[in-house]
Symmetry: C2
Subunit: 139 residues, 2 copies
């Protein structure tokens, strides 16, 4: 199973916020850019708010803005905020412990999966929102 599009959508939203640092954006405006419903946007922004990535002002003339500079928001920060971890699942029902493989396969795989998650974390942590904004200019 692949990941949801939540990371892609969230990154999209945050890039828009990063491009207009002076103004607050409403969920409606962001939904138009992403081409989806504003509730979908608000749900994601609630997670990003809980993770301390965006600031929210409620009420009339309210809206969303980044809680810190784009160079200090990594793609992994976003991933952690909106996706479920861990990336890999082991067995749902525990394997038969009487089998010599069954007795230890979960532990062995958990270690491999941890390494895999680490490599993704390292890679996404190394790329900031600011990097992506700079890439727009370059292209």
């Amino acid at each position: 199973m692949s990941f949801s599009s939540r990371h892609a959508i969230s990154t999209h939203i945050l890039m828009v916020l990063a491009c207009c640092p002076e103004t607050k954006a409403s969920s409606d405006m962001l939904a138009t850019s992403v081409n989806t419903n504003s509730v979908v946007i608000r749900r994601l922004l609630a997670k990003l708010r809980d993770a301390g990535i965006v600031k929210v002002q409620k009420g009339a003339d309210g809206g969303y803005s980044l809680a810190r500079v784009p160079s200090h928001i990594s793609l992994w920060d976003i991933f952690e905020a909106v996706e479920e971890l861990p990336l890999f699942n082991v067995h749902q029902s525990p394997p038969n412990p009487c089998c010599s493989v069954g007795a230890c396969v979960e532990r062995l795989l958990a270690s491999v999966y941890e390494e895999a998650e680490d490599s993704i974390r390292a890679l996404l942590s190394d790329k900031s929102l600011q990097d992506l904004v700079n890439d727009i200019a370059k292209s």
Copy 2:
């Protein structure tokens, strides 16, 4: 969304086959070790057969065995055989192209996601079934 347990189950099955290279294993016996239904096992083995990882003998006294030595079966081979690629999804409906971010965000993210997938591929390709079998002995 995390991955399914298919990779973990498949690796488990293949480790059992690797441990008994002389004998064929039935889906029923493998299901007992994994602690699930034999149809679940046969479904996975059909994918592994299509990928050229296991050999199948049908009929009475039939069963499954590895199609090549465990040192030449990597965890990535297994992953490719039973999981859907790509790992990451971009937007479902295309973003608004009138927005300067919307116009290019998919392309920028696709490049990041490709790097992430490459790093997972490299890591899993580097670990063979034989390595895991050796790990059993070590533990």
